[in-house]
């Protein structure tokens, strides 16, 4: 066979690995305010350019500009800043506690706080979020008690999930936060089914589902989008494209010249690609998609373009697979600093207030941690072992009852 007839297998590689210079040259960042805002109730077929642009609101002067600039009160903006800052500080504290051996595992949302926080504030109390493990901002924006998070992370006697779940895989129904799992993507279809149920009952609630960009390669993602498109499920379906799936770059989940938002086109639903580090852009896109869902026009797929500034979890070291300085060169900045700068520019915030807020939140976190530690950290305290056998079924069957008694005898209870 002549060499020019031989096929070559293509394996994509990221722009830079450790020791190589950071390179975001291929990343096209349109100017804030430059992308059109289609009429939310318009025809999907007229929006197929949207997945190839990037909706941005905050410009280089920290001003909200263009057709996507949302009409949001400064109170809500300050709530968003608070929720993001609380998420950042809480993550940093609990990550350190894992390093001190006080729990087994932790995952941070660092760099992605705007997404959960903004969407939580834009959606209604009865709506349901089907989160990934990087949506802590949703709970923080709704004032979920910090102490419940701490007890869950310590798997102690007061753990609301009774010691059955890995740390950070929360469930908080009253806060519109569906049960998390470590399986990726397997709840995306639940968001669609939940939304279909709301429509079936002629209710007015909508669902919010998340996957990461890596998980768009799972069948669950495509099954869920098929159902969302076919049945016009009132759901906002989000791909948090944070560039990294543990050590695997986004190019392993998607070929270079398309976008994750563009996957929407094949399913017949609108796709938006949004600067996920721009709190105002996240708010605006969420409002747009919610308006459409409430008008019975079905789902929207939103790719939030963001950056996972920390490691995947406490179990990996990102400097082993990407340049150590890659996070500081991320061209879309830090979501907390950007919203803080915007509030400052419009005269609604200043350094003194920011310092005071930081101190207040730090003290609240420390108080919750102290309270959690007083009950016990992992291994020092746990729920009654009888809890291991509860909730397998609504009513336990004979196996569960016999085995509970067997363990009880073994433990001398």
């Amino acid at each position: 066979m002549p060499d020019d007839k031989r096929l070559q297998l293509h394996i994509p590689k990221p722009q830079a690995r450790p020791g190589e210079p950071v390179n975001f040259d291929g990343l096209i960042v349109p100017e804030a305010g430059s992308v059109r805002r289609p009429e939310p109730l318009g025809c999907e077929a007229d929006m197929r350019d949207m997945p190839f642009s990037l909706v941005r609101v905050l410009d280089e002067n920290d001003c909200a500009v263009g057709p996507w600039a949302p009409d949001i009160s400064t109170d809500v903006l300050r709530k968003g800043l608070r929720a993001m800052l609380l998420t950042r500080l809480f993550d940093d504290k609990l990550f350190r506690l894992q390093r001190q051996g006080k729990t087994s595992f932790y995952m941070k949302s660092t760099g992605e706080e705007a997404i959960g926080a903004a969407q939580s504030l834009m959606l209604g109390q009865g709506d349901m979020c089907f989160p990934t493990y990087r949506v802590l901002g949703w709970l923080m924006a709704r004032d979920y008690p910090l102490i419940n998070l701490v007890h869950q992370i310590f798997s102690n006697e007061k753990d609301p999930l009774k010691g059955r779940q890995l740390p950070v895989l929360y469930s908080a129904r009253e806060y519109g936060f569906y049960s998390l799992s470590g399986n990726l993507g397997s709840r995306f279809g639940h968001a669609v089914g939940w939304a279909m149920a709301s429509a079936y009952k002629n209710d007015d609630k909508i669902a919010l589902g998340y996957v990461g960009e890596g998980t768009t390669a799972e069948g669950d993602f495509h099954e869920a989008l098929t159902f969302a498109g076919v049945y016009r499920a009132p759901a906002i379906l989000c791909v948090t494209n944070n560039q990294w799936a543990i050590s695997t770059f986004a190019g392993i989940a998607n070929p270079r010249d398309t976008t994750f938002a563009a996957k929407a086109i094949g399913y017949g639903i609108p796709g938006l690609r949004v600067d996920g580090n721009d709190f105002l852009a996240v708010c605006a896109a969420t409002q747009w998609a919610a308006e459409r869902a409430h008008a019975n026009l079905g789902s929207t797929l939103i790719e939030f373009f963001t950056y996972r500034a920390a490691g995947h979890s406490t179990s990996d070291d990102p400097t082993k697979y990407r340049p150590i300085d890659e996070p500081v060169h991320w061209p879309l900045g830090d979501p907390i600093l950007r919203l803080k700068a915007h509030l400052t520019v419009i005269g609604e915030w200043d350094e003194a207030r920011h310092d005071a807020l930081t101190a207040e939140l730090t003290e609240a976190i420390n108080a919750a941690v102290r309270e959690g530690e007083a009950v016990g950290t992992l291994g020092k305290s746990k729920p009654s072992v009888a809890e291991m056998f509860e909730g397998v079924f609504k009513e336990p069957d004979w196996r569960v009852i016999e085995q509970r008694q067997e363990l009880g005898k073994e433990l001398g209870l």
């Binding site: 279809g189 639940h190 089914g193 939940w194 079936y200 869920a224 069957d397």
Partner: protein, 337 residues
């Protein structure tokens, strides 16, 4: 009372539930306008409306994922997977989500769905329309697995499954849809007409999950079976002339351990019969439970009559299928000791 075949009885259960509970809905491949490839959902869309019984994409994982989400909202979905052989793309949804949702959320969310699926062999369906995968569901903590053997039970068990707040895999032996089958393919097909278990009340009733039926009382040997094999075993027992006690498990999770143990303690002998292949099959679990609980009552080794440990074959269907002759051999072997 009306005489119904198993299809009619299942259709009637769905019809009654759709009429009485607005939170119940039915969906799956071909179940809407067409009424299902086996006609179990026939006319339900016409009678109850498009949103109550509708067609789904060819997406088993998508179907069960949507049903779990609906269940979390508060509905009580009943979905059809066209053949149990095709349920595996949805296995992750059943194992990692439906079965664990209540447990991992400490009761905040649960998945009260019923997954109906035609199952088992005897119809020349080859590898992809004949399998009996019940053991893989029985192994999953948090799932219930139900297998009816006649029209009366099919209706009562299906209503129980739908009303149950836990996820239920409801396996319908498709060889029994139109009539009982004794495992004698050379004999003329039977219909359910005139069979005592085809007399089905027209209104609402339930058969509880987890309670076995003693299909034939006896004293010499206990035979455990479910689904199609109940009829095959009964025919084999009659031919053998033995005074065997035949227990139809009806559901394998929850399992009616008390009825099984009482019978084996009485007879001292046990033969387990299932269509599924032997190694790692549910018969292994039954055998272990019996020796744990009845060891000093046993007079003979526990026998297993199962499909062979091969994929389900096409041309060799009746060599694979555990028919009456093989069951009689196992019964005689149990009696020899």
């Amino acid at each position: 009372m009306a005489s119904m075949n198993m299809i009619q009885a299942l259709n009637n259960a769905l019809d009654i539930t759709l009429a009485s509970d607005p939170d119940t809905l039915v969906f799956g491949e071909d179940v809407g306008y067409f009424g299902g490839v086996f006609r179990v959902t026939d006319k339900l869309q016409e009678k109850h409306g498009l949103t109550r019984c509708f067609d789904a994409p060819i997406s088993e994982g998508g179907i069960i994922a949507a049903a779990i989400g609906m269940g979390a909202y508060g509905l009580r979905p009943v979905v059809e997977i066209q053949f149990a052989d095709y349920i595996l793309p949805a296995f992750d949804q059943l194992v990692s989500e439906a079965a664990r949702l209540r447990y991992r959320s400490n009761g905040e969310f649960w998945a009260p769905l019923t997954v109906r699926s035609p199952y088992g062999g005897g119809i020349f369906g080859g590898q992809t329309h004949s399998q009996s995968p019940e053991a893989i569901f029985a192994h999953i903590t948090g799932l219930k697995t139900v297998i009816p053997s006649n029209p009366y039970d099919a209706k009562g068990l299906l209503i129980s499954a739908i009303e149950c707040d836990d996820p239920v895999v409801f396996l319908e032996p498709k060889r029994l849809y139109n009539g009982p089958f004794e495992g004698r393919p050379d004999q003329a097909m039977k219909t359910w007409a005139g069979h005592k278990d085809a007399e089905v009340p027209e209104g609402h009733y339930t058969v509880p999950l987890g309670r076995a039926a003693i299909t034939r009382p006896g004293n010499e040997v206990t035979v455990l079976a479910y689904g199609t094999m109940v009829h095959v075993a009964l025919s084999a027992i009659e031919e053998s002339g033995l005074d065997a006690e035949l227990i139809d498990l009806r559901s394998i999770v929850p399992l009616d351990i008390d009825t099984i143990v009482a019978s084996v303690k009485k007879t001292g002998r046990c033969v387990i019969v299932h269509e599924a292949s032997r190694f790692g099959g549910f018969g292994g679990e039954l055998s272990a439970l019996i020796q744990e609980r009845c060891f000093y009552h046993l007079k003979a080794p526990i026998g297993r009559v199962c499909g062979w440990d091969t994929p389900y074959p096409h041309a060799f269907e009746w060599d694979y299928f555990p028919g009456p002759a093989r069951i009689i051999r196992a019964l005689n072997s149990a009696m020899e000791n």
